[in-house]
Every structure is written in structure tokens, then in C-alpha cells.
Subunit: 412 residues, 2 copies
């Protein structure tokens, strides 16, 4: 294999060396490429539509979309225009701008279960608010969460235990995704202290095949909450607006009481939201939740433009179409080489895994060949198809994945 | 008194009516004007330099600075230029941009105690990270916090108890600000389980006079941490960059182990930061903390420009000069009317209170007259002087406060 660092990532290497002196470990969190195969750039320069460029000028077709936030494509002109217009007025002020009311109206209009909206900055803000609202509304403590699910990186939910205390998770009870009996068992364990159930619209745990929700599971959660008075919380942070212009469980007919949103709702600008039923508005009023930048207008203007473009360009439909072609192409390429792969998740949030590849050795070969070929994807995290991807992009992706499968076949 | 709502806030009233239908209570958090006297607009339109305009076109000299974030004045041209240049490239990408390294270098250069930096979006992110890092570093649990101090709105620190569990605060022990004996007592209560001490550079609890730190208190905290191995955490979210271009305790010669930053560091763009000593870098590497938008480049570009302007325009010096004239003017006006007032805090973060005004009745009269006169200040929260305020602005402010004191004198 060719040199995967070297001259190709020379500027990146210089930045990494500088970063190592002033940022612990050089980087932290989900964008740290330390655990990815060599060849991934750590530092990015810019993006446009379906393409991104690293600091060395290498161009990639982007199948990660900034780990979810970029939905319509990078620097979508309609979003950029709305951002520039609002930035020329103000971002963070002594009070919100009219954009906040307009956005609350737009989101409650487009999401069936939503009677009200509150906004913040991060997905973790939103999921934490949901748990707090559920406890305030019910005056109960227990929250059910699926084993292995990711709901953010605050002490109560971060997957990393360092610095976190047992008390931070004292009243969480685990269930298994898509296993209604395990939810009923967890609810029984909670007894008369059950405040809420947190659930993702799909199972999208890191490093394992994605699972679509079994409608029996989803409707069973709804029935359990109706029976017990517990609050059903849909964590739509990663999926929201990618699967449906509305809550991600609307297509299967299950309405949560609360939903948490972030990532794609402002096409890459920092925004979180909680939407909920009227019956929970008093609980929202009772809690104290705020942030210095939560009422800032620019990301709300970006979100309003995103919601408009989503409809006008039929982004969900477009990403389903391209995502379907991508899945079919990948399946055919793998099959032609006798490679046993799993292609899971919604087609616009695909996950590829190789049979028996517990150490991700094959996934890493595939990812490394892809990044070197100019396709930015991830070996252990689901990918994202943006609305900017067209059939030419797809053809280029499939050219690269063909070589990547060749290399996997040669190495396995 | 004239009609304080009515035609003057007609557009605002319309937006409030719409907001009431889609946002619980019409608004939440620190920017909710429900608890302010009538006459305050809820919704703001735009800002420029020292001025802000509400949605009805009423103009105000801004003494709140978006509750702290706006340091150099609204839409400072150098910050706006940096923002536009970065936004034309990218904001949130698959990895950070070079701005992150540049900003970590700039902040560790300008803050004495800082060997490294990590970034986030909110002040609450930063204070929560500090507590987590302290626990990870020490493998101990107890955190000392001052009674009445504000360190954010997550479950462990929010001043509103609704929806929060005793377990969220199980290992907090309170002390009294500027009372070293109370800190020693709290540390004794922690026994050999003391992870860290959180302290604000000044006492800036809501609704009470601000207190500058007693150097004996500050040096005593440092000595206690040196003796016990506890982590000294300076919550510089509200004060950072306003008092000093560096940590706010540098002028009194006390270096924390960790410091939390947000608000003013990007002149209104959403950014949080934790800075710390080299000895805590391994603890940072051990925790899992991240957010979808934490590596986004635009607010980091804004922060780099802010740090440059802060030096070049001597913003701290300018705000001290104008703040001193403001304090002297207010003191003289109050005294001339026989009003007993307290003017506390650093002059650039002033707080005005009236003797015996426990219900804020006089503060509300003062604030209402000020807002109607075109000066945006707050009756229970400290104000902020921006670098854009000049002597003409000050003269206009003092004209308005003169009438406001007249009205207080008439009503008391």
C-alpha cells in the first residue's frame, strides 16, 4: 500500500504536531481520528455541496456530513443567504429575535406530536432537558434507556465513565432495543417511580449493525407510557429530518410525548430543540434551563431556511433515491467478490459491516482505501447521504468502493 | 407614568402572543422578561456598536451586552470580517479547522496557568467538564461550591430544582464566598474525598451586591488545593476577558488548575472553553466529552479576532475608564437626591442596588425609567460595559439615569 500519510497530509501533520502541544491528545471526542486508519486527515479546510477538502487540498465526496449536521449539502446557498441576512442584524442579543417564534411555529407545524418548542445548542442539551422535563412532569425518577444507545456526552449519558459518578446514573434502568419484554421488565423494576423512556428512532449504536424499529416495539412503548403515565421521549438528534420531515416515528404511526432534536435541523449551524405535547408545557415552565447562546438568531435563521429547502428540494426523497442506489451498488460489488457484508440502517444513513469482522480489520481496510480514493466515510459509524449528492457523485463513490472491496478481498 | 407597553411595543406584543402559543410560558431562561418591569421588549431586532434595537425600532444604549457575550460592541467589524471569511469556507465539518489549533495556541499564550485548551459551546459545558476532569484526575468525588453561586443550568448546578434529583448534587458541599474558614470546614467535611473547588473570580450571585475576591480567600483556596491535591477550578465564564486579558485572578496572583470560559470569548458567537495545567491533560484524555458543533470553525474565528481586538483596542482599559465614569456619575446622582445606593463589582461589570430594597421595588422603578429612556440595563443582574461605549454614550446614559433616580426619589 502507498504511503498513507507523508506528503499527502503534510499540512495536516504540521497542525497535528502543533495541536499535540496545546490540546490534550491532539483532539478529543467523536472527531478525533486517532482511532481511524492512517490516511484520514484530522483538520478540514472547507466544503461545498457534496464535497469537502482537507487542509492539504485533498478533495473528498462527503459521506459523513460532519457526523450528521450537514443535511442539504455544505454551504447550501439558501441557508448561507439566510445566515448572512441574519448575521448582518445580530446573533446573540438581550432577547431572542423573531426567528425564534417563526422557528417554533415552523417546527410545531411540521411535527405532528409537537405543540411547543424550546431551543438550545447541542443534542446533549436537548436530551438532558427531556429527562428533566419528564421527571418534573411526573415527580418520579426512573428513566429507561436502551443498552448501548448514545444520548449525548453529559455525565448522565456519556459512554466514557471516567470522571462520572454512579449517582449520575443512579435512576437509569436499561432495556434492549426492539425487545418489548425487556422494556416491560425494566418498567416493572421501576415500579411506581417510572418517569420516562428514552428511545432512538432506530438503533444506531456505534460499531454494530443498525436496526430499524419493530413497529410492535414502538407501539408497545407508547402503550406502556399511556398505561403508566411515563413520558415517551424520542431521541431524534441523529435521525431528525433525515428520515421524514417530521418526527422519525410518524411513518410508523407512533407519537412520542417529547422529542429531542439537533444535528441536521440547521444544516450544520449549532442548534438543539425539544418539541413536546401541550400536557408537558407546565413541566417545561417549572424547570430552569438556559444558555448564553440559546436564543441566538443566526442558527435559527439557518434552521428556517433548512426546513424550507427540505420541502422544496424533497431532500428526504432525493437521499432515499441516492441511498438506495448506493446500497444496491455496494451489495453488488461485495457479492461479486464473494464478500459477506451487512448493509443496515435506512438507506440515507447506511452502515456497512463485514461478516466476522469483530476487530474492524476489514472495515478499516475498506475505509482506508476509500479515504485515499477521495470518499470520506467511517469504518464504525453510520454514514450520511446529503441532499447535494447526485448520480455523478454516486458513480465516483462506487468507483472507489470497488477498489476498496478489491483490497478487502485481497486482505481477507 | 406613561403607558409602558401599548404602541411603543406593538410588534413585540404581537410576537409575544404568537410565542405564547408555541413556547411554554412565551420564553424560558435568563432572557425571559416576565419578571422584569413592564416596558422591556422581549424580542430584539439588531445591534451595532454600543446600541441595540428592539423589534419595534426602539433604540437603546446597551448595558447588558446580551448578558455578557458582547464585549467589543455589537457587530464589531473585525469580528464580523473574520466570521464572514470563515463562513465562506465552512463551519461544522468532519474535523476541526486550523482555527482550533490557532485558538488553543492563542488562549494558552495569553492565560498564564493554561498549558492546553479544549472547546465546547456553552458555559455549562465548560463548568461540567471542569468538574468531570477534577473527578477523573483525583479519583475523588466531593466538589466545593459557593452557596448561591451560578455555574450553569445542568442538573448538577441549575438554580431551579424542578426535575432535578438529590443524586445530581450528591457530592457537592457548600462554602461561603470570601469566607476561607467556611471553605476549610467544607474541605474537612469532604475528608479524603475532595476532588475540587469551584470558585468564581468575583461573587456575582443574582440579586445581591457583587463582591471582589479577598486576596486572603483566593490565596487560601490555592494553598488548600496544594495541600490536599484538590483541583482549583476558576469559573471565568462571566468575567473572562472583561477584567483582564488572561485569567481573572492573574492580577491578584492566584493561578487555578482549571478555568471555564464562555460568554465574551468570541464576542457573542457560541463558544465555551476549558483551559488547564499540563498535569491535568491525562485526565482530559480519559473523559469522553463532545458535541456535534464543538469543533465548528466560525465561532473560533470570531474568538481569534476578539483576542486580537482586545489587545489592540485595549478594551479592558477602555471599559474600566468608561465604567469608572459611569460609577462616579451614578454615585453623584444618587447622592444629590439623598438616595442610599450600593455600587458594587468591577466598574466594567457594575451592579446598582438601593438600600433596604429587598423586593427590588426601587430597582424596578429605576430599570423601568431607564428602559423607557433608551438605556438597556437590568434591575437584579450586574450590567456590562462594552468596548464600544464612548463618552457620548455615557453622557446619554447619565441623562437617563438622572431621570430614573428622580423617579426613585419620588417613589421612595
Amino acid at each position: 500500500m502507498e504511503d498513507v500519510g507523508g506528503d499527502r497530509l503534510a499540512v495536516d501533520a504540521g497542525l497535528r504536531a502543533r495541536a499535540a502541544r496545546v490540546i490534550p491528545g491532539g483532539l478529543y471526542g467523536h472527531q478525533n481520528v486517532a482511532s481511524l486508519p492512517r490516511g484520514y486527515p484530522q483538520f478540514m479546510s472547507h466544503g461545498l455541496g457534496s464535497r469537502v477538502w482537507d487542509v492539504d487540498g485533498n478533495e473528498y465526496i462527503d459521506l459523513m456530513c460532519s457526523y450528521g449536521p450537514v443535511l442539504l449539502g455544505h454551504r447550501h446557498p439558501r441557508v448561507d443567504e439566510a445566515v448572512a441576512r441574519q448575521a448582518a442584524l445580530a446573533d446573540c442579543q438581550n432577547g431572542p429575535s423573531p426567528r425564534m417564534v417563526e422557528l417554533a411555529e415552523a417546527m410545531t407545524d411540521s411535527v405532528d406530536h409537537a405543540d411547543w418548542a424550546i431551543f438550545s445548542k447541542n443534542g446533549t442539551d436537548a436530551t438532558t432537558q427531556c429527562v428533566t422535563i419528564a421527571r418534573a412532569a411526573t415527580a418520579k425518577r426512573k428513566i429507561l434507556v436502551a443498552t448501548g444507545a448514545y444520548h449525548g456526552a453529559a455525565p448522565w449519558c456519556t459512554p466514557g465513565p471516567s470522571g462520572v459518578l454512579p449517582e449520575d446514573r443512579a435512576h437509569l434502568i436499561q432495556y434492549r432495543y426492539n425487545d418489548l419484554a425487556s422494556v416491560e421488565a425494566a418498567a416493572s423494576a421501576a415500579g411506581d417511580d417510572l418517569a420516562g423512556i428514552v428511545v432512538s428512532p432506530i438503533r444506531h449504536d456505534i460499531g454494530v449493525d443498525l436496526e430499524l424499529p419493530d413497529p410492535v416495539f414502538a407501539t408497545g412503548l407508547r402503550a406502556l407510557c399511556d398505561r403508566t403515565g411515563a413520558v415517551l421521549i424520542l431521541d431524534d438528534v441523529r435521525c431528525g429530518l433525515r428520515l421524514h420531515h417530521g418526527s422519525s416515528w410518524e411513518p410508523i404511526g407512533v407519537a412520542p410525548d417529547l422529542s429531542a432534536w439537533s444535528k441536521a435541523i440547521a444544516n450544520g449551524y449549532a442548534l438543539g430543540a425539544v418539541l413536546g405535547r401541550a400536557s408537558l408545557a407546565d413541566a417545561v415552565r417549572s424547570i430552569y434551563t438556559t444558555g448564553s447562546f440559546w436564543f441566538a438568531a443566526v442558527s435559527m435563521a439557518a434552521s428556517l431556511a433548512t426546513l424550507q429547502v427540505l420541502d422544496e428540494e424533497d431532500t428526504v426523497g432525493r437521499t432515499v433515491k441516492i441511498g438506495t442506489m448506493l446500497r444496491e451498488g455496494l451489495a453488488e460489488q461485495a457479492s461479486a467478490r464473494g464478500l459477506e457484508v451487512s448493509l443496515s440502517g435506512p438507506v440515507q444513513m447506511p452502515f456497512l459491516s463485514f461478516a466476522g469482522d469483530d476487530t474492524f480489520a476489514l472495515a478499516n481496510v475498506f475505509a482506508q482505501r476509500s479515504i485515499l480514493g477521495g470518499v470520506y466515510l467511517h469504518p464504525r459509524h453510520n454514514w450520511f447521504v446529503s441532499g447535494a449528492m447526485d448520480e455523478d457523485d454516486l458513480a465516483r463513490v462506487l468507483d472507489v468502493t470497488e477498489s476498496a472491496f478489491d483490497e478487502v478481498a485481497a486482505s481477507s
